[in-house]
Amino acid sequence: MLDVLLMLLVLAGSAGLGFAIIRRVPPMLHTPLMSMTNAISGVIVLGALLLFAVDGNRFEYALGGIALAAATFNAVGGFAVTDRMVAMFRQKAPADRETQTK
């Protein structure tokens, strides 16, 4: 019972902290934010891995394998595409701009 309470506390705490932090993300970064949080939801990879840590039948391993592939797709693909996107945001050098406006 204590365990469940603790887990609910973790749930509420991280939701609250997440709310406070994510609210401050500027709209400019909303797409990268969504793609990074998708990558973070790839932590389900741990759940999939743990299915292989106990003895199971073939059916369970097959399901676990598919979950593993989906989770790694999310994690690797998500972080990689987020990195690509964030690197695209450029600001022309201030010096450039000055010469342009003059």
């Binding site: 997440g18 969504m34 973070i40 741990l46 106990v54 797709f73």
Partner: protein
């Protein structure tokens, strides 16, 4: 206990990673930090346990990683909403599969009632997110029809499926027979899958940013439930963060359209009207807007104009001799040449016409001539939150030139030219001038306050909302209809000449 401490450390690293998304400069480091935190979590689990079926495990992990990497390299920013929708779906799938296996195994461990409930919830949310997201991804990738589909008794079907899912869950918690439990679990997957489709199929076009944000939240919540069922703090915390992030974005999108989530998901449009005065004396103006009563199903298939379909209504300068002052193309050139401050308003049509490169070049040219160029981005422009920003970033537009709605709206009155590229509903003054339309009360970019307006859209049909755009009829508006990429190229050529 050390396991929990490690979990906690990883959670803190993930939170720090997200916190670094406060500025563009630090975002890349934040992403890297979160990635390393996840890698660390995997490494910890890897060293703690020994795994059976190792070759199988490695093959699946390798296939998933390689596919993810290849997608991330190839996807364009036009295609990013489809990719994100697919990821939402994959997250949902992983969660419901793990939850399902946990559910069927949980019978062996006594006193695991709460774990069982969490697993059941994980199955429901995960499966619904999975099917709903695949449908959304198919639409966003243009494989499926863009139109929202409303079935007869749509809401009743939705309610029925939800009730059925609840019933199965109650039955599942009552039984201890593993066979029956497995059967109930499988039935629950089917029912929840239907639920996701019914929920998602009714949302289309310009409402996509809301749906995609909502499904993003769903994938997080499913992971959190899955974490509750297997007792992993890390999964709970990370899932909760993703869920909250999705809900915040959903809220931002809803507010930017002045609609509420329930109204969008259940197809009941126009959430805003109650506060607006009813124009009892003006039946003529509300008459053609029958869409106001229900969901906006009657809207044209191409939600926002300027699509790349080569309908290309004969270019204006060919239908009339270029010397004529009445020629819209020549007038537009004059206006562009003399404008000191230009605000460019991009919409999803720009992405469809793949005109962002041309828009970027035009902006560069004008800044080069010493003009002030600002990009005005509406929060719901595009198909997902922040979509316009990444499109413009890909086209190498300086992000310092991009302004959000609240910041840019006061500037329109002192602007010589508002250049609309593939945007419709987000600049439609009807939103503030007419009551009882699907967009009434929606905050818009005040492009109509600029001294001159040029519209580079595919056609002059209404946008996704189905509401006629009053801006098009404004005498100061110059309509350059046709493929936006083509129109902008010709403008650029003439400016060079």
């Amino acid at each position: 206990m050390t396991e929990k401490l490690v979990d906690l450390g990883i959670v803190v690293a993930l939170l720090l990673g997200i916190a670094l998304f406060r500025t563009i400069r630090s975002a890349r480091a934040g992403n890297l930090l979160a990635a390393l935190a996840l890698l660390g979590a995997v490494a910890v689990v890897w060293t703690r346990h020994s795994f059976s079926a190792l070759p199988l495990l490695l093959v699946f992990a390798a296939v998933g990683s390689a596919t993810g990497l290849s997608f991330s390299r190839r996807v364009s920013m036009v295609g990013i909403p489809a990719m994100v929708a697919l990821q939402n779906g994959m997250g949902g799938m992983a969660s419901f599969l793990v939850s399902f296996v946990e559910l069927t195994r949980s019978t062996s461990s006594p006193g695991a009632q709460s774990a069982e409930v969490a697993a059941l919830l994980g199955i429901v949310v995960g499966t619904a997110t999975f099917t709903g997201s695949l449908l959304a991804a198919g639409r966003l990738a243009q494989w499926l029809a863009q139109k929202p589909v409303v079935l007869p008794h749509h809401s009743r079907i939705l309610g029925g499926l939800a009730a059925l899912a609840l019933l199965i869950m109650v039955l599942a918690t009552r039984t201890s027979d593993p066979r029956l439990l497995q059967l109930l679990g499988l039935t629950l997957i089917v029912v929840a899958g239907g639920l996701g489709i019914i929920l998602s199929v009714r949302v289309g076009g310009a409402d996509m940013p809301v749906l995609i944000s909502f499904l993003n939240a769903g994938s997080g919540v499913a992971a959190a439930f899955c974490g509750l069922s297997i007792g992993s703090w890390l999964l709970i915390a990370a899932g909760a963060m993703v869920g909250v992030s999705g809900m915040i974005l959903t809220q931002v999108m809803c507010r930017a359209m002045n609609r509420n989530l329930v109204a969008i998901l259940t197809g009941r449009s126009v959430a805003s009207v109650p506060s607006a005065p009813l124009p009892v004396d003006a039946p003529a103006s509300t008459q053609p807007l029958t869409a106001a009563a229900g969901p906006v199903i009657d809207s044209p298939a191409a939600p926002e104009p300027a699509a790349s379909t080569p309908v290309a209504s004969a270019p204006a300068d060919q239908s009339a001799p270029p010397s004529q002052a009445a020629n819209p193309f020549a007038r537009a050139l004059d206006v562009i040449r003399s404008a000191q401050r230009v605000i460019i308003v991009p919409g999803y049509g720009m992405a469809l016409a793949e005109a962002q490169e041309e828009v970027s070049r035009l902006a560069d040219k004008l800044t080069g001539l010493g003009r002030e160029v600002i990009f005005a981005v509406h929060p719901v422009a595009g198909r997902m939150p922040g979509h316009m920003h990444v499109l413009l970033a890909e086209a190498e537009v300086d992000y310092g030139m991009i302004r959000e709605m609240a910041e840019v709206n006061p500037l329109f009155a002192t602007t010589d030219l508002a250049l609309i590229v593939g945007a419709c509903d987000v600049v439609n003054p009807a939103a503030s001038q007419q009551a009882n339309t699907p967009i009434s009360g929606m905050p818009i970019l005040q492009a109509h306050e600029a001294k001159n307006v040029i519209v580079c859209n595919l056609d002059d049909r209404p946008g996704y909302s189905g509401v006629e755009n009053l801006l098009y009829r404004d005498p100061k508006t110059i309509m350059l209809l046709g493929d936006a990429q083509d129109t902008l190229r010709r403008l650029l050529d003439q400016l060079d000449a």
